[in-house]
């Protein structure tokens, strides 16, 4: 079975960025509070990430929900693996797990 063009595009995003965020809006102008919260966490930790605005791409918006069997956006992927949405990232950040997770995944971070 071959992947649909949408799945191919999602895979390219995910494999092309060690840290990839599917979100609503852009990191500079998030269009949703949950997306904004994830951007804020990543920026705070100095993590560089790629992002796609699902609001301007309806196929990706629908496709990414099916891709990870996860019904909502934002969605964060690290080294190809789905990590979670806003709640999970927020909890992981608050407990310090996210810090450890990025370190173990070998994600480069800038001093902030």
């Amino acid at each position: 079975m071959t992947d649909s063009p949408t799945v191919e595009r999602i895979k390219q995003h995910v494999s092309g960025n060690d840290v990839m965020l599917f979100m609503k809006g852009t990191p500079v102008f998030p269009q949703c509070g949950f997306s904004a919260a994830v951007v804020q966490i990543l920026n705070h930790m100095g993590v560089k990430f790629g992002s796609t605005d699902v609001l301007v791409d309806p196929e990706i918006r629908q496709g990414v929900k099916e891709f990870s069997n996860w019904p909502t956006v934002p969605q964060l992927y690290v080294k190809g693996e789905f990590v979670g949405g806003c709640d999970i990232l927020r909890e992981m950040f608050e407990t310090g797990e996210l810090e450890e997770f990025f370190n173990q995944a070998g994600i480069e971070r800038e001093a902030v």
């Binding site: 609001l55 909502t72 979670g84 709640d87 909890e91």
Partner: protein, 90 residues
């Protein structure tokens, strides 16, 4: 039955929670993407259940999502989930 009650019922039946709180936050998102006339789009749940023991965060949320698949298919737009096992600290 309103969506709030359906969510509550579905989680209550499937997870036998020791604590379950379902909050409609749709009014906080009025006018945003995903908000609809009449609300019933944005919810927050806090659920403490033995069903979450030994499960990862992603697995816990997937379990809740699966139980509410019909709601997501019918306009539920955002669901903030706090899912804990009974022996875990808040």
């Amino acid at each position: 039955m309103k969506r709030l009650e359906r969510i509550r019922l579905a989680l209550d039946e499937a997870l036998s929670p020791v604590e379950l709180e379902v909050i409609d936050e749709s009014h906080l998102h009025a006018g945003h993407s995903g908000a609809r006339e009449g609300g019933e789009t944005h919810y927050r749940v806090v659920v403490i259940s033995a069903a979450f023991v030994e499960k990862s965060r992603v697995a816990r949320e997937r379990l809740v999502h699966a139980l509410l698949a019909e709601e997501f298919a019918s306009g539920l737009h955002a669901l903030s989930i706090k899912a804990r096992a009974p022996n875990e600290q808040p």
